[in-house]
């Protein structure tokens, strides 16, 4: 019974921390943010790994293995695509800066 309250405290504090930090993410990065949190939510991988590896029984192992598959797609794919997006965000490129300087 105590454990559930401990869990609720952790949940509450993490939700506030998450809220506070994410509030600061600019609209510019909202799509990468979604891909990023999507990768993080693949943390349910942690639960499915135990189910797939501990071999409690056949049903749990099979369900766990499918869950590992789904969660891995999210973790690996989510980080990959976030990186792919973030690599595209560039400040003024040097060429344009040079042109701007020449004009002014």
């Amino acid at each position: 019974m105590l454990e559930i309250f401990l869990g609720l405290y952790i949940f509450m504090l993490a939700a506030f921390v998450g809220y506070g930090v994410i509030k600061g993410v600019p609209a510019l990065l909202h799509t990468p943010l979604m891909a990023f949190t999507n990768a993080i939510s693949g943390i349910s991988l942690v639960g499915s790994l135990v189910a797939a590896g501990a071999h409690y029984n056949n049903v749990s192992t099979v369900l766990g293995a499918i869950a590992v598959l789904c969660a891995t797609i999210n973790v690996v794919g989510g980080f990959w695509i976030t990186d792919r997006m973030l690599r595209m965000f560039k400040k003024q490129d040097p060429k344009a800066d040079a042109a701007g300087d020449a004009a002014s």
Binding site: L29, I43, A71, D93
Partner: protein, 470 residues
């Protein structure tokens, strides 16, 4: 062993939050991502030495213990990388919706697996664990089918318009209430398997029914809400397994989805309730009829006229919308900007929060076209500048530039913050046809005396403009 596992989880949680902090600025975002990746690595490492897995390892050895994990991990990675590396940026909303579906499914399956282990096989499950598993399966299932529906709508596999039927909201709410009652009943009596499986099946149906009536431009809210649910499902998994890193990561994800859905709803001047239960479709028809009777004329401009206007402008603000994504016109927008800038014209971009089908959709597309993020402006940053701007170039946007939202209380989008494209000295609208936007209402901007319309595919038109300017 358990203290090692917990230490690794603690490090992982710390790195997740640190990583998220990195995302608060574009130049630190990639570093943040690396922190989060490391965090995930620690969490996986911690799990692979989990006491239950190690107990199996003692008996069965390495191969027997890890074979399913390794197999599914490699297949999953291959699929994840293939999807992420190949999908075009214009289809990002679908990609995100699909991954929410995977996340929901994973959580729901872990829940069922846990129920099977503790209740069906071992014959004992306490009420708190049962309650947590109930929430996990509920949110997981809802997210799974709801996201699949969203994916179907975004990719055009299912009609994107709102699908409605009589007593829709009433029956949906009733079913949701029913699922909740089942959840409570199964928490009180975990041994009743029929109740459990009924409770696990209901959210699958609910996910479909909830998303079916929600149409195209409301998708950003749906996607962000499902993002939030995916997080809550992960968090509930944490409660069921007494796993703190799951609770923390899930809570962060839930908070993120929540914030984004509030941002989206505000940008549309609508409440959550209105997006989820509002019958937007009904308002449309009256409005469209009203506007059609107006019978005003629009001024059409040829490609040459548009090119002339642009070449004579000292400052241009581009207002992109979903149409730019559909036409895949972002690269040619970048080319046009390059030519104009070489001419000494200042080019900036006004990004409305709900332009596109997900938060930040337009930013990603323009970044892909190598446009520096320093010229991508948010609504509040740039809206005052329109009146001192020579040309507003509207590329595939409609409702987000409709001035009716500012002064016509009869309009169904009245009160929604919009880009002041109408205040620019002149306004060029690139449009496929005179079809109204998602909200189904006529756009006053098109009939304004300083507005000209150039009809055709946005990409084709811009390519011709670029040619004319060269």
């Amino acid at each position: 062993m358990i203290s090692q596992v917990e230490t690794l989880y603690l490090i992982a949680s710390f790195l997740f939050i640190l990583g998220l902090r990195g995302l608060t600025a574009a130049h630190t975002a990639r570093r943040g991502l690396i922190f989060a990746e490391l965090g995930m690595g620690f969490a996986i490492w911690g799990t692979l030495i989990h006491p239950d897995i190690m107990a199996r390892f003692e008996i069965a050895g390495f191969f027997e213990t890890y074979k399913w994990i390794l197999l599914t991990f490699f297949i999953g990675s291959a699929i994840g990388i293939a999807i992420s590396a190949l999908i075009p940026m214009t289809r990002m909303p679908e990609r995100i919706a699909l991954s929410h579906a995977f996340g929901g499914l994973a959580a729901a399956l872990v829940g069922v697996s846990e129920y099977y282990r503790e209740q069906v096989v071992a014959g004992h499950m306490d009420h708190t664990t049962m309650g947590a598993i109930g929430f996990e399966v509920l949110f997981g299932g809802l997210t799974f089918t709801g996201s699949l529906m969203a994916f179907g709508k975004l990719s055009g596999l299912i009609p994107g318009r709102n699908i409605t039927w009589p007593l829709q909201n009433q029956s949906n709410i009733l079913m949701f209430g029913g699922t909740f009652v089942l959840l409570i009943a199964v928490t009180i009596d975990p041994s009743n398997q029929i109740l459990f499986y009924a409770m696990a099946a209901m959210p699958l149906l609910l996910g479909i029914l909830f998303v079916a009536p929600i149409g195209g431009a409301d998708m950003p809210v749906v996607i962000t809400l499902l993002n939030s649910y995916a997080g809550l499902a992960a968090s509930a998994t944490g409660f069921a397994l007494d796993n703190n890193v799951l609770i923390i990561a899930g809570a962060i994800d839930g908070a993120s989805g929540f914030i984004l859905s509030v941002v989206m709803s505000k940008a549309m001047n609508r409440s959550f309730r209105n997006v989820l239960f509002g019958a937007f479709g009904k308002v449309d028809e009256e409005d469209a009829a009203m506007a059609a009777s107006g019978g005003e004329r629009v001024q059409e401009a040829s490609v040459g006229d548009a090119a002339m206007l642009l070449s004579g402008a000292g400052s241009v603000i581009v207002c992109p919308g979903y149409g730019m994504a559909v036409a895949q016109a972002q690269h040619v927008v970048g080319e046009l900007a390059e030519i104009l800038e070489a001419n000494g014209t200042q080019v900036r971009y006004a990004i409305h929060p709900v332009a596109g089908r997900m938060p930040g959709h337009m930013n990603v597309l323009l970044a892909e076209a190598k446009i520096p993020y320093t010229s991508l402006m948010e609504l509040e940053e740039i809206n005052e500048d329109f009146k001192n701007t020579d040309v507003a170039l509207v590329v595939g946007a409609n409702d987000v530039v409709n001035p009716a939202a500012k002064h016509n209380p009869a309009s169904s989008i009245y009160g929604m913050p919009v880009l002041n494209a109408d205040l620019a000295r002149s306004c060029i609208v690139l449009k496929r046809s005179m079809r109204p936007g998602f909200a189904g209402i006529e756009n006053e901007l098109f009939f304004a005396p300083n507005t000209v319309l150039t009809f055709g595919d946005a990409k084709d038109t811009l390519e011709k403009v670029v040619e004319a300017l060269r």
